[in-house]
């Protein structure tokens, strides 16, 4: 009897662990290392209508217990993602969460409509919070009205449930969450990266060619926990929690804060086997806390 399975809108997960969008490509690299069917789900890399090369390099910089990235949504474009990547992923018994990105509202709608028709795409993750796209991506994520309208439009065209991925770079995360819930979001995904920068002392300019970038990794975990703790008490839709998860204990901390499943991002770069390792380790962590099923922990810090 499983102690780890989780049922969420669109997502029937063997266990609550999925790799986070942008940290797992489309799975091909990790498939060489382990069986992707072990995962609870896979959040694939952000997909845009057109092929994108993304930002110039350097695109990553290290920070204390974290990293900055400014990949800039590099991806092969909607058509190739559907025809190559998603079809290739069909051989695994794992639901796919398609991360939808764009610069204009119409982009989001086009990607959402088409990608949600793919057989193995069980949910969309609406990326309104990517800090690395200049033309407007960021305003979707910081303005509740704009976010709410986009959510509504995407919900109209999507054939699968829609999770909205929130940006932590806001004064009032609860306001954002409530706005997209009211607009019909089936779930939330949080948090995306914090906006940060590092400067090269010798060159006297930012290390990232793009200037600023998104801060991820263990450094941001306390911000993620705080936001999920706040938001989960204010909404009734489930939350995919993320931000710095590295261990089974981290997963439990996110559940207690109010997450119903989690995504693991940066940790995949440090240890490419981290997702299966956490999945295998979770029963031990549950035993230590005397918990039968992980779902008992959801919101446990405030319930």
């Amino acid at each position: 009897m499983s102690r780890l399975n989780i049922e969420l809108p669109g997502l029937s997960m063997k266990n609550p662990i999925m790799p986070a969008s942008g940290c797992f490509g489309f799975g091909q690299e990790y498939a060489k290392l382990y069986d992707l069917s072990k995962l609870g789900a896979i959040a694939i890399k952000a997909t845009t209508v057109e092929t994108r090369f993304g930002n110039p390099t350097p695109r990553v910089a290290e920070t204390s217990s974290g990293m900055l990235n400014a990949i800039g949504l590099q991806n092969p474009g909607l058509e190739k993602v559907i025809e190559n990547e998603l079809v290739w992923l069909e051989k695994y018994d794992v639901p796919i969460v398609a991360n939808v990105a764009g610069t204009k509202t119409e982009d989001y709608i086009e990607v959402a409509e088409k990608i949600s028709k793919s057989k193995n795409v069980h949910a969309l993750e609406l990326n309104i919070s990517c800090p690395n796209v200049k033309e407007g991506g960021i305003t979707f994520g910081t303005n509740p009205k704009v976010a709410s309208e986009l959510t509504k439009l995407v919900k109209e065209v999507s054939e699968v449930p829609v999770y909205v991925k929130l940006s932590p770079n806001v004064t009032d995360i609860v306001e954002m969450a409530v706005a997209v819930e009211e607009a019909g979001a089936d779930g939330l995904s949080m948090i995306n990266t914090l906006l940060g920068m590092r400067i090269d002392l010798k060159k006297r300019k930012p290390i990232l060619a793009n200037g600023a970038g998104g801060l991820s990794g263990p450094a941001i975990k306390p911000v993620a926990i705080r936001m999920i703790h706040q938001v989960s008490q204010a909404v009734s839709i489930p939350i995919i929690g993320m931000g710095g998860i590295t261990t089974a204990e981290d997963v439990i901390e996110f559940f207690l804060a109010g997450a119903s499943c989690v995504a693991v991002g940066t940790a995949n770069f440090v240890d490419p086997f981290v997702c299966p390792t956490i999945i295998e380790d979770l029963p031990r962590a549950l035993d230590e806390l005397g918990v039968d099923h992980i779902s008992e922990l959801i919101g446990g810090s405030w319930k």
Partner: protein, 258 residues
């Protein structure tokens, strides 16, 4: 590619801030080839967070040992330099595609051009080429006499020229200066070093067959994060790319933009 905890067998300073580290393990060594690299975790905790990409300098499959040579400069490499014999280091590897051996024949002469901390991967390459009976010429460029390492080791394998920019050791000037001055003859180029040096090689020997090993800041090292991409030469669309970690780090001259 696997993750293995490898034991530090020895660690020695061999030039100014440059360390030679010998690691021993079970399984990883057997998978390694010349020109591939390792992704090393220098500490237990989450700081520094990311692994450090370091080229393989020598592979001893019998003993199960790998040698790497690196410059300690930043936080991570400085911490690596503190590791003593007996301590363990988590190693992800081998990564990338190394220097191809099937592009050269026993009758050929290969020139191995290294710049600074780009010299190390050429050592295992030279050993392999020598095994195949290929004639090797080494041209090793450093900034100054204090930076020079492994000269004797290369001398044992073939003709070796050392240059320093300030002329405090060997020939004065760049590796290109030596190659043109001495009118060295060769069939194929293998090189690793700073980008300006690689560009100069590409510009000076446009007609030669050759292979260049590139560097870029990396996240995953396994092709998943798209941190390390570069443009492909003559790509009008500007959307094609190669990942240095998995498509490289070694590319044929002319393939990618430097």
């Amino acid at each position: 590619m696997i993750v293995e905890n490898m034991e530090v067998i020895s660690q020695h300073k061999i030039a100014d801030s440059v360390y030679e580290l010998v690691l021993r393990g079970e399984a990883l060594v057997r998978l390694c080839n010349q020109g591939q690299f390792l992704h090393l975790k220098v500490s237990e905790g989450t700081d520094p967070l990311l692994r450090r990409p370091i080229s393989i300098a020598q592979i001893n499959k019998d003993k199960g040992e790998l040698t790497v040579i690196y410059r300690a400069g930043g936080r991570g490499t400085n911490m690596l330099a503190l590791k003593q014999a007996g301590e363990m280091v988590s190693v992800l590897g081998p990564l990338g595609n190394g220097f191809p051996l099937n592009e050269v024949e026993a009758s050929n002469t290969a020139i191995l051009i290294g710049g600074g901390i780009g010299v190390p991967p050429l050592y295992e390459l030279s050993l392999q080429l020598r095994n195949m009976g290929v004639q090797v010429i080494h041209v090793l460029g450093f900034s100054s006499s204090k930076d020079v390492f492994y000269e004797e080791k290369f001398v044992q394998l073939g003709e070796t020229y050392v240059t320093t920019i300030d002329g405090t050791y060997g020939e004065k000037g760049t590796v290109i200066d030596v190659i043109t001055d001495k009118q060295l003859n060769f069939d194929v180029i293998y090189s690793c070093g700073p980008t300006p040096m690689l560009k100069a090689i590409e510009a000076t020997f446009p007609e030669k067959k050759g292979f260049l090993s590139l560097e870029e800041r990396m996240g995953c090292g396994i092709g998943a994060c798209f941190a390390c991409v570069c443009h492909v030469q003559n790509d009008k669309t500007r959307t094609e790319y190669k990942k240095i970690c998995t498509d490289g780090p070694v590319f044929p001259i002319g393939e990618v933009e430097l």
